[in-house]
Symmetry: C2
Subunit: 479 residues, 2 copies
Amino acid sequence: MPITQWENIYSKYSKIIFIIEIFKRGEGQVTKTSTDVLIVGGSAAGLSVANSTCVWYPDKKVTVVRNVPYTVVPCGIPYIYGTLNSVVKDKIPDEGYLDKGVNFIIGTVIDVDRNNKTAKLSDGSEISYEKLVIGTGSKPVMPPIKGINLKNVFPIEKDPDFLENLGATLEGIKDIVVIGGGFIGVEMAEQIKLKGDYNVTLLEALPRCLLAACEEEAGLKIEEQLEKLGVKVSTNKMAKSIVGTDKVEGVELATGEMLEADMVVLGIGAAPNVDLAEKIGLEVDKKMGIVVDEYMRTIDKDIFACGDCCTKFSIITGKPSAIRLASVATSEGLIVGSNLYSLNRKTRGAVGAFATRVGEVAVAAAGFTEKMANDNGCDYYLGEITAPDRHPGSLPGCTMETKVKLLFNKKNDRLIGGHVIGGFQAADMVNILALAIQQQVTADELAISQYATHPLLTGSPLVYQIMWAAENAIINKKK
Amino acid sequence: MPITQWENIYSKYSKIIFIIEIFKRGEGQVTKTSTDVLIVGGSAAGLSVANSTCVWYPDKKVTVVRNVPYTVVPCGIPYIYGTLNSVVKDKIPDEGYLDKGVNFIIGTVIDVDRNNKTAKLSDGSEISYEKLVIGTGSKPVMPPIKGINLKNVFPIEKDPDFLENLGATLEGIKDIVVIGGGFIGVEMAEQIKLKGDYNVTLLEALPRCLLAACEEEAGLKIEEQLEKLGVKVSTNKMAKSIVGTDKVEGVELATGEMLEADMVVLGIGAAPNVDLAEKIGLEVDKKMGIVVDEYMRTIDKDIFACGDCCTKFSIITGKPSAIRLASVATSEGLIVGSNLYSLNRKTRGAVGAFATRVGEVAVAAAGFTEKMANDNGCDYYLGEITAPDRHPGSLPGCTMETKVKLLFNKKNDRLIGGHVIGGFQAADMVNILALAIQQQVTADELAISQYATHPLLTGSPLVYQIMWAAENAIINKKK
């Protein structure tokens, strides 16, 4: 984006002091400037810290450095292709941040002098800080298979240019293989299929999609929706190599089977981006992220980290957790923002609260699945119920089979996992359960709680799913 | 409903022992039969007790006596007229209860011999019980104004015949006045207007609709939607009398103004139906209901009561509460069912969790409004935020202005009131807040909690409304 365009935007916010010099790059001069709070990374974690710092410390100057011209809604990326039909429509608007006085710098921090509290950018400019926050996010996991670097193999990056290129590549091709049946994989498969008449195949190594967060039955429902749309779902299938000379021509499976492919989309996970933190000597676990304490501080007490790039622990087990999720990042961002100049808050750990929608079905999950509980040696009991999500069920918009499944810790009766499968309120229903996990609510408390209901908006108060899944769990425990 | 028809239904459930003799009425013989649990009333409270008793005490015989041929969804009544276009479509199906072995008797309990634990029905039959549950609900409040007994003045009764009659009366008339701008009033006004080209006027004595549960701004949004549909909303207007000779012809306001009316719908509240309880010598507060303890027992330890007919207290203040709501009734029903033969649970008090939708707007509320907090002398602070309920906001189905407003107790930072105004997830969003009130969650806990988000289902994790309304409240308190 040319500097003049940025100046135009900034002139709209004339009351705010901007470090406009920083944009005068490429002119041979080393610009030196300063800020109070320097945030490296402008996605969910970084912007959340910016929001939070502005309300907790309104007198502090906040600067966000990001290596993209604008920030896309990360979870919105799949919807660029089949619904929004535009990358820029998936933008997080800067205006709200600029209004609060946040400065944005388009650039890359390549080094930090921790003694002098100064960051160095790739264009040679320098910026000094009082507090530094690292929110460098994650990098897509690239499986170590042959052909992974061929043209038209796309991991999911949050860079608008990259996303434009992915969209352009979709024009005029036919066969697409999506590797990985997690959230990003199923959503990309759906949206590409909605975009046009493609042959879309979704490969998942496990027996079901979404197993990293959801119960098998949720994965099954989503697979059914994908198949209804015409996506070919192949579970228990491992990609062995990607074949082609210059660009991808096919995907070879471990079974020997060969799938034709003009494009491969990779959705097999993300690893913390710890490059900068490692370079500047912070403590780093390459697999789990930049090591932070419960206040989200690194070993340098003036440097914080949050979001996908840093370590976390499970709120349920207290053990290290690899949950990397925008909602965890934004919660951590609020904690960091409040802690910068005074330690106000500790993280309680990652709960893992997910939701998606494919076709006519939404699924959502918080905390443990049965498998996770078993893998963690947690003795649990469960209750479930399926009921319409309107009352009477004859009302328009009703999903007759909306199911809630709850898992409780046998030792203390506290909720450790909640799953909703069915209508489109699944996300907000699971948020009742996400809060319940975080507040250590018991089966009995969930069962006798009162919940707002309305014919056009929810299930019946006689079978409100959360109430009765909890009640059924209590009865199951007594059996 | 003829006896043969009931026998046909029951023959479908041949494994269950039915007390079919009870149906052989009108033949001059006094039938005497017995049950373990006798429930008087077949609406939200009674059916909830039936459900709960069946899971807690599966060996007990459960009998529900109701004075209607079938139970309508009480909150669904307005939707009979403008959406379902049928009374019977608003039925709560008996099948689920029959499957569990619940017996239904169509009749009226007119007396109870507490010493011999026997109930007497209006047809002369008698039924003995081990435990009796009174769930006789409420009666519409009839304002003591002239003309209230004229033909075509309709309070809202839950009797199918009554509701059929209301619908039949709507055919061929033009001018309808709805008195009372609470939930039932606004919903009846909307649905009658949707049914046909009526002149519908909604009268509310207070300055805004829905003030008994919602903030003024919620009432305003609903009034705007009603007016968009063509309903005339007249607030600050009191009906002085209903005029007409045989049937209603108009409504005279306290101002002297006269409104033409072919029908008047009354929606000004409900009073506990304590007739039976009073007759059989239980302790009764005519205004607040049958007196129960925290286990929902009356002064007779083998007689319980729940739902609209009995006393309650506020979960926030501990003081007597007049909240009469299906979701309170069903929660109390679960408590009663579990307590019948062993005291398992205490009620925590009524929270008051409401939701409605009119036109394109849903509003929901849990706990206190600002006015209620002030009236109760509760020192509070608040936070609010308005943000889209999809992310990015350009996605289909987005309500750009979805607002959350939270009230916290200044003494202990606990949530005492939560309000959602905007998109159709309002009810489930407010249920996060209803649970938070019941679990005494603080502003800080709500702010740093993690919530599932998804582009097609919720607002952005960067501005998830509950998170940021709580964060803004914390900042407001510090100011």
